[in-house]
Point group: C2
Chain length 517, copies 2
Amino acid sequence: MATRKRKRSAGKANLSKERKKSPYFDVPFRPWRNNYPKYEIANEQMLEDIHDASMQILENTGMRFQDEEAMELWEKAGAKVDRKTQHVWIDRGLLMDLIKKAPSEFTFRARNPERNQRVGGNNVANLSAAGCVFISDLEGGRRPGQREDLITLGKLIQMTNTIHVGPIMTVVMHDVPVHEKHLDGYWLGATLSDKPQMGVSHGRVITGDVIKMAKIIHGEDLRPEDGPVTGGVINVNSPLVYDDRMLGGMMTFAKHGQFTVVTPFILSGANSPITILGAIAQQNAEALAGIALLQLVREGAPCVYGGFATNVDMKSGAPSFGTPEGAWALMLGAQLARFYGVPYRGSGTLNTSNVVDGQAMNESMWSLWPCIMSHTNLIFHSAGWLESGLTHSLEKFVIDAENLAMMQHFLAGPETGPDAFALKQIDEIGPAGHHFGTEHTQARFTNAFYPPFLHDRRNNGQWLAEGGEDIVVRANKLWKQVIRNYEEPAFDSNTKQALQEFVAARTKELEGVDLYD
Amino acid sequence: MATRKRKRSAGKANLSKERKKSPYFDVPFRPWRNNYPKYEIANEQMLEDIHDASMQILENTGMRFQDEEAMELWEKAGAKVDRKTQHVWIDRGLLMDLIKKAPSEFTFRARNPERNQRVGGNNVANLSAAGCVFISDLEGGRRPGQREDLITLGKLIQMTNTIHVGPIMTVVMHDVPVHEKHLDGYWLGATLSDKPQMGVSHGRVITGDVIKMAKIIHGEDLRPEDGPVTGGVINVNSPLVYDDRMLGGMMTFAKHGQFTVVTPFILSGANSPITILGAIAQQNAEALAGIALLQLVREGAPCVYGGFATNVDMKSGAPSFGTPEGAWALMLGAQLARFYGVPYRGSGTLNTSNVVDGQAMNESMWSLWPCIMSHTNLIFHSAGWLESGLTHSLEKFVIDAENLAMMQHFLAGPETGPDAFALKQIDEIGPAGHHFGTEHTQARFTNAFYPPFLHDRRNNGQWLAEGGEDIVVRANKLWKQVIRNYEEPAFDSNTKQALQEFVAARTKELEGVDLYD
């Protein structure tokens, strides 16, 4: 026993020594506040014009809601409906009355209250890439996602302090049966991480199960006034259709006070006009209609206005990501969300590259900067996204994390206060001296500047002598180090057991059941 | 002869066909206007505080001007001087009176008037990386720059429509004797490109030669009221020293109405305080003192406020580029330049990477976005910079050019006007249709979206089948294609001959002469 003990503590010491090797672990966990200017490319008249265009779309063209409960709600509320074709025309008076009921901010609660995340206002939270079909890394290449990849990503997300929201469905688990995916996915998210946890918004059965699991973790009553503990993303089937699966999921969440990120999937030139103002007018109409419906389901239901508009490539018809057009759309969306007083969702690392190269990072920075400039509140896909979102790259995950850590430092702003100008030191040193040795410098030596963990500042000779590795090779080593350092967060054992039992029982129950009945 | 003729035209046809292959050649030449918001991270009080701190530095600590002519000018103007130690103390009244004389905008004239560039206000111009010791490309690797590399880069710069200013001293020509470098460099710049041309600001002899060459090209009188035809960058020897070479160069340019980019070389934590506000207060004091001196040399001398402040890496003491601290500094500098009413210079692709990888592009985008956000007027080093500026990379040049082309599209803003909302088309298509076939889409098919020339949007299968090349491999092919397509701009043959004769004669004359006498 004694021997074993010694071995264990030796292992721990090594782990802690290894942690010290990388400043990755020194980036503090901190909710982001964006107190910088809001970068607004539309003037008031343009905003009013977009608003008016969206109202005309909802009043004159109308939308389809492929769900009987939704149709009933619209009819009762006084909208013009055609129940046979499931078509609804909403006038601007009714719409704006409903939009006003959506909260401008809310608290997204985690099972660890220290991880609670405020959504809206100047608050910013980052989420990992999600919904990817493939996983990739330098050694394993690109391959269909498996359960073990979801676990790897879950660990990375928990250990990455600049990602504020926990893991859910980061990659498709091709080795888990369809009826188990949502149960297992939510279970893995809940146990691997103590950060606030998104759910799955896909029909009444699946989303109902998420609510049941959330209740096991957070208590049977899930008081909406305390703020949601889960939520989902839905994509409008643009143009102008909400299908039954999306409606079933979002309405189930709203009923229980949980939130929905209402995200039209707008591809300018394909499912919406080729002109960005037209595309945004359509996006705005679709997003507002969904948010309004959720207020009919439950007054004050927390909603996030989702912006995911980009353009197609006119040569191939394929979506393009990290484009100037996408930046315009993202920025206009943020201004509109503020105009209506609801939180805004964007995406932080969209790109079309097949490989983690300069293109991948250029396009990603055409996503992240506009998110920050426009005051996006929830930055989805802010680490790992590759190949138009088909692939989750483990190397890109930690490379993106470097940009997020830099952004966290940037948002904090430079030191202010009486000593910030260092006039005494400038005067003492005078012309032609240096500041390395001053007390003023020494006191700030460790923390003044952002210390990179992947960006390499060695000179060429040193860099070559030590292997000449590019950022992808270094990233490969880093994500494996992070995984080795993973520590499972504390979880009340009774709650954990109850959750596990529910998942086991429900998995059996759902065998052969139509999840979208 | 007939055969030869056919061959020639076949060659031309191939060239034009090859041009068509790359949308690189379709990016239009266009002076940039930045009508978007100014991203200002300092409030009025902070700006006033920085101003006050800078004034205290100039009044109480003072600066050294290592040049007798400069000392005489300061003394005559009424500044407190110590001629023995070449130390000057400038009070804020005198300083601000002089700063007011510097023009807020001016026209930087090119030998081709269509290439004239307005500097200041909302105008933006991009310049290539310059002053690099090494050149690198995928096949040749990293090697000391030679004359032929300067020619290659000159051709690239002329052919790249998003670079507004012509080539000068992009790399050090290790195979050209010291006394010939400025003559040959200016000659190559003048003949390879018809864009406005920077000169060399290094002592009275070298800069005097540049003035003589500029006069051969632009006419003997070089009327300052028409705007400068050349200019130079000087770096203050921070902290608080202007050396004789810098002063000799900048004062020579000012005497002839040519402009100077007054750029303190600020490394926070080394030659200036570790706190960014302290570093910026020092930069501001240094920049203003230089601009003020040039107004003593010639009232109304065109000046640009240069921001080049970044932090050192506290582990190695080496400069770090593309950092959050650098972004703060750049943005604060732009606000200060506006506060004083002078144009602003920043840098567009600063990075510390040893290789054209994700780090190089991340850090570059930590330079380019802040330049655009802060309304930088002259964006230096906006293509090709690598390895802290030691290396000029031919592949990175065209990769950076992609970001510039995207930025050009972004700055133009989305289509507005009566048809932009496409309400008629949205209504006709209704729910669940698509916009590919509409007349509205078809009419805009070719020009609506930015068409990338290096960013690759092929799907994974197609990309792999066609070679699976990353962006660096594609960039290598592209820059060679651009060089093959190079066309020398027209140049009046008498002027060209006169310039050539001057260079030849002056080269002989300068053999063995001390250039800094």
